[in-house]
């Protein structure tokens, strides 16, 4: 799963969101690191819809336009949980190895 796809699914966890809502939430969740452009957002979103991880929730009128809201499907929630677990397991391995190599003298490493 790519990083933008991971953050888009995470953004949809708590509530359905529209296109720009997803862009804003992804920027906030990633602390500004992942700044999705509109072309990039829809390039990921169309595949998530095609794979059944995200679906259309509703359409709402806003300033004379229709806003489409998207929600996470059960399959999307499961895919996100699996990916989060995989990343957490990787992080645990790295942290444990870093801990082992840390010298008793703070700030220095063994070997």
């Amino acid at each position: 799963m790519t990083e933008p796809a991971f953050f888009i699914l995470t953004a949809l966890l708590d509530a359905p969101r529209h296109g720009y809502g997803i862009v804003s939430d992804v920027a906030e969740l990633s602390r500004g690191r992942v700044q999705l452009k509109i072309g990039s957002l829809y390039g990921v979103l169309d595949r998530l819809v095609l794979d059944g991880l995200v679906e259309l929730d509703r359409e709402e009128a806003w300033q004379g336009r229709l806003r489409r809201y998207y929600r996470l499907t059960e399959r999307g929630r499961h895919a996100l949980a699996t990916e989060a677990e995989r990343l957490a397991a990787n992080a645990r391995i790295a942290s444990a190895r870093l801990g082992e190599r840390r010298s008793p003298i703070a700030g220095t490493t063994s070997s």
């Binding site: 296109g19 720009y20 862009v23 452009k37 509109i38 072309g39 829809y42 336009r65 806003r67 489409r68």
Partner: protein
């Protein structure tokens, strides 16, 4: 509809029509919201004079490349075009890499670093580079080799960066030399630059959805290419005058023509679906070689043997056209037989 929306919708026309039917209005709504700063005066100004930022334009171009030059799960026509552009880009980068690698070996030989080979004739002696620009020119070209390896190994962005490294120093050198009158104005370097820039852009077809490049086959093509093209060419040029009239556009025409003849001869033994991407790729390469040859022909008019060079150039262009046109017709017919979208299957 304000001007900003018009401009964004115009940009979205790069995307295929069926994709636009599904996503365009939603993309426009999201884009206009992203441009809204909350200040009425700024919003009114942006509505009239605003344009999509370069990063937005790039994201739409990347999406269009992914959709139009499709990967494994794309509709058949989009997949055929995607494969064709990827094959053409790989082949063109391979030719650059082959010539650059052979260039390293030939430079080492001319510099006397290959004592086990016969010494080069005095007229082939290396002229030491007179300036930083000339050194940059010589070294930059070698970047095609790692660019090709990166492309085959699936590192598309690294390949594009390395290719730009190979292209830009010669372009700057040319601009300086032509501006200062050191060399006469000529179209050849600019046409080659244009085609190389198109090649760098074409590398965008190696996106996430594209199949991985068969590594063994394409990496193996590098030594085979060196043995088949630059080594015999250099050996003939070093021993006789016969091929000294063959320039880079001429060599491109000759290589593409030979490849097309081999492809057409072996076409009957391939499945039609397997032959189509190569037919399209060779058509694209033939169009590029023809454009290069045609645009660079007038440059020969300043040279000493201009009538012979012009005749040879015209023959090369005719040869590419003679083999490329029938191939293009066959490829387009085969393409039309494919359904445009997966829904039509």
């Amino acid at each position: 509809m304000n001007r900003l929306e018009e401009r964004y919708r115009l940009l979205l026309r790069l995307l295929p029509a069926d994709y636009r039917r599904e996503w365009e209005d939603d993309m426009v709504a999201a884009f206009l919201e992203s441009m809204d700063t909350g200040d009425a005066e700024t919003a009114a100004y942006a509505a009239d004079y605003g344009r999509p930022r370069l990063s937005e334009v790039a994201s739409v171009i990347a999406l269009a490349a992914r959709l139009r030059l499709g990967g494994t799960n794309a509709p058949p026509r989009s997949y055929a075009w995607g494969q064709a552009v990827r094959l053409a880009a790989l082949t063109a980068t391979l030719v650059h890499a082959v010539m650059a690698t052979a260039g390293v070996a030939i430079t080492a030989w001319l510099a006397g670093r290959m004592a086990w080979l016969p010494a080069p004739a005095p007229e082939w002696a290396l002229i030491p580079p007179g300036s930083l620009w000339r050194t940059a020119w010589g070294l930059a070209d070698y970047a095609w080799l790692p660019a090709y390896v990166a492309l085959v190994l699936g590192h598309r962005r690294i390949a594009q960066a390395l290719a730009l490294l190979a292209i830009l120093p010669p372009a700057v050198t040319n601009a300086v030399q032509q501006a200062t009158g050191e060399v006469p104005p000529s179209a050849s370097p600019w046409m080659m630059l244009l085609l190389d820039v198109v090649l760098v852009l074409a590398m965008s077809a190696f996106h996430h959805d594209a199949e991985p490049v068969p590594r063994r086959r394409w990496l193996g093509a590098l030594p085979i290419g060196i043995l088949l093209v630059p080594v015999p060419l250099f050996a003939i040029q070093a021993t006789s005058q016969a091929l000294r009239l063959l320039d880079w556009p001429g060599l491109s025409c000759a290589l593409v023509s030979v490849a097309i003849v081999i492809h057409l001869a072996g076409r009957q033994s391939h499945r039609p679906s397997g032959a189509l991407p190569w037919s399209l790729a060779l058509t694209l390469l033939a169009a590029a070689a023809l454009a290069l040859r045609t645009a660079t022909l007038p440059d020969h008019s300043h040279q000493a043997q201009h009538s012979a060079l012009l005749t040879i150039g015209a023959v090369q262009a005719t040869l590419v056209l003679a083999v490329g046109a029938p191939l293009a017709v066959l490829a387009i017919r085969a393409l039309r037989r494919l359904p445009p979208a997966a829904d039509d299957l």
